[in-house]
């Protein structure tokens, strides 16, 4: 069932992501994912944990619609990705998915405000509104006083906060953070994780992809991946709540 609702997908109760028996095989017999199923509800904070080569990056690409499965189905905020062409997937990414990368991927010569505003570029919002919302997003991540700083004028932790602001500026239904602390020192990494938890507490659905078991251990739900399959799916303290309480 593919929903024809185009505007209000984020507003109703559809899960942020649903994977059913997903396979991603590459030519030459490499099975990056082999029968993966799980469901991520609205407002969850989930860690997808696994060593390199476990298939977690493939999982990230499928959740972000940067790649398509060779079998099974992937639904993002209610939309079956098999029913989307490249334009449709792009449009859904623009509206419903925010990415945070290990290497930040910020434009060098561009002020923080405009880096964040670019998170809305492909939604069709006019520049004035993009900048207004970017200002709000930077204030949410605690960089309200760094609007006009360029990335090289910011610390690594601050850069990652800018990237997070860019990911959440459009209030997407799903935030995907790929090793968000991988390029940061411990203190900055901790701060970034706290920020993600705060955003989650405020309602954002956040998926953190990491190889770091310790980092994932602090998350309310952990999906362990190994050899292209889900090894375990566990919730902290059995409470299954939306966020961690310390």
């Amino acid at each position: 069932m593919t929903r024809t609702n185009t505007a209000g997908a984020d507003d109703d109760g559809a899960p942020a992501a649903e994977l059913f028996d997903v396979e991603r095989h590459y030519p030459g017999g490499v099975r990056a994912l082999d029968g993966v199923s799980f469901r991520i509800g609205r407002g969850e904070l989930v860690g997808i944990v696994g060593p390199s080569g476990s298939g977690k990056s493939t999982l990230l690409n499928l959740l972000g619609m940067l790649d398509t499965p060779t079998g099974g189905s992937v639904r993002i905020t209610g939309f079956d990705t098999a029913g989307l062409d490249d334009d449709g997937a792009s449009a859904l990414r623009a509206r419903s998915v925010g990415f945070v990368f290990q290497q930040f991927h910020l434009a060098h010569n561009v002020a923080a405000l405009d880096n964040v505003a670019d998170g809305l570029l492909y939604t069709g919002a006019p520049l004035r509104r993009r900048r207004a919302r970017a200002r709000g997003a930077l204030e949410r991540v605690g960089l309200g006083d760094r609007l006009h700083h360029r990335p090289h004028e910011l610390s690594g932790g601050q850069r990652q906060r800018v990237a997070i602001a860019r990911a959440v500026v459009g209030d997407p239904g799903l935030v995907l953070a790929d090793e968000p602390t991988g390029a940061l020192d411990t203190a900055s990494g901790t701060a970034v994780m706290e920020l993600l938890q705060e955003l989650n507490a405020a309602g954002a659905t956040v998926v953190v992809i990491t190889h770091d078991r310790e980092l994932a251990g602090g998350l309310p739900r952990r999906i362990r991946v190994r050899d292209g399959q889900v090894e375990s799916d566990e919730r902290a303290g059995g409470d299954g709540g939306g966020h961690v309480q310390g």
Binding site: T2, T4, T6, A9, S57, T58, L60, N61, G64, L66, D67, F79, A82, G83, L84, D85, D86, D87, G88, S90, A91, L92, R93, A94, R95, V97, F99, F101, Q103, H105, A107, H108, N109, V110, D118, G119, L121, Y122, T123, G124, P126, L127, R166, D178
Partner: protein, 404 residues
């Protein structure tokens, strides 16, 4: 690609301003490379604008000169008779021509054979300086629109006296820049007072190296035979062709084929046409420079796409469609090329202005030249950017982000 189209969300369109902004963002990040790769385009456009501008300025100058000199001057000179002998014009030619309809003014000169001009009798005879002596009618300056630079033209009184007016080059060769009461030159056996010096005469350059004496003096003192060697006719502008037609017969009714009729302004036009052929060649060279510049832009864009895979991946992750990525790189290539075009148009205009000023011309750059130049560079940018833009759009976002 086709499955499910029409269902699900549709991408938003980028506004033109956003399209230009994304295209320009890549250029702003690498200013030095922009300058270097736009340079070829700039040189090409500058060459073309300068060629067109210089040629137009020269044309405008010629038009202005022709307008003041008039294209209605026609001359009759002896050519060859039907038998191939040197012809002469009969003595009454000037009066007959004057009676033609459409003739506004006539003057004649008759060359004094064998007369040479010297500064003094100490100068050896062979150093005659190539100055030709003419007996001239009194309305010669008026007919030729010749200007007496210093002194005055001959009049009825001085026409029979040993008085002479020198052409600009003749005066220079004789070393006479100013004239006083005692300024004289030796013509034949007799000293002639120099009463005036002419400015160069554009339509009758033969006057520049001439020493002009009155017709009476030429006949009485220098032994001229009285035959005109050239008759200058100023026709009514709308009747030039008509006058030209009948001039030979009027000048010499018995042997009209021995009369050579010409219009001096044609020679200036012909020189201009020769210059145009030369500018065609330069224009071609400018085109080659433009082509090479286009290849430079294409090369820069190919490298840029390879270097910016991360940016492409990020933009795809932010929701850019393939078409939007393609548009961004296409606009970037066009902006890069047009930047060179604008710089080239300005440079070409400056070169034109500089050249025109040194030549004493007015600056005339036709608006279409820089406009066409900049438009052409937009086209070149689009062609040069097409392949790199398509490659950028085809880059898989997973590869571009370095994950997979």
């Amino acid at each position: 690609m086709s499955r499910g189209s029409g269902r699900g969300p549709r991408p938003a369109r980028l506004s033109p301003a956003d399209l230009v902004r994304t295209g320009a963002s890549g250029l702003r990040a690498r200013p030095l490379r922009v300058v270097l790769s736009a340079l070829g385009i700039a040189i090409g456009v500058a060459a073309m604008v300068a060629v067109v501008g210089i040629s137009a300025s020269s044309r405008a100058d010629l038009d202005a000169r022709l307008a003041s000199l008039g294209t209605n001057l026609v001359t009759a000179a002896p050519g060859e008779s039907l038998l191939g002998e040197a012809a002469t014009l009969p003595k009454g030619a000037e009066d007959r021509v004057r009676r033609l309809p459409g003739v506004r003014g006539v003057a004649q000169v008759g060359q004094v054979e064998g007369a040479s001009v010297y500064r003094s009798d100490r100068i050896p005879e062979e150093a005659s300086g190539g100055i030709t002596v003419y007996g001239a009618s009194l309305d010669l300056p008026e007919t030729l629109r010749a200007h007496v630079r210093t002194g005055e033209w001959l009049n009825r009184a001085t026409s029979g006296y040993p008085a002479v007016v020198l052409g600009a080059t003749a005066a220079e060769r004789l070393g006479i820049a100013r004239i006083g009461p005692g300024t004289r030159v030796l013509i034949g056996e007799e000293y002639f007072s120099v009463v005036g010096i002419l400015d160069p005469v554009a339509l009758a350059p033969e006057m520049d190296s001439a020493a002009l004496v009155g017709r009476d003096a030429a006949a009485g003192r220098l032994g001229a035979d009285g035959h005109p060697t050239r008759v200058y006719v100023r026709a009514a502008p709308e009747r030039v062709a008509e006058v030209r037609e009948v001039l030979a017969r009027a000048a010499d009714p018995e042997e009209p084929f021995g009369v050579e009729v010409s219009r001096p302004s044609d020679a200036l036009e012909a020189k201009e046409a020769a210059d145009r052929a030369f500018s065609g060649l330069l224009l071609g060279l400018g085109g080659v420079a433009l082509l090479v510049g286009g290849v430079g832009v294409a090369n820069t864009m190919v490298i840029s796409v390879l270097e910016r895979r991360g940016e492409i991946g990020l933009r795809r992750a932010l929701g850019a469609t393939r078409r939007q990525i393609r548009g961004q790189f296409l606009v970037e290539a066009m902006a890069l090329s047009a930047l060179g075009g604008v710089a080239g148009a300005v440079l070409g205009a400056l070169v034109t202005a500089g050249y025109a000023v040194t030549r004493g011309w007015m600056v005339a750059i036709p608006v279409w030249a820089p406009t066409a130049g900049v438009l052409a560079t937009l086209g070149i940018g689009a062609v040069a950017g097409l392949l790199p833009a398509v490659r950028a759009a085809r880059t898989a976002p997973t590869e571009a982000l370095g994950s997979g």
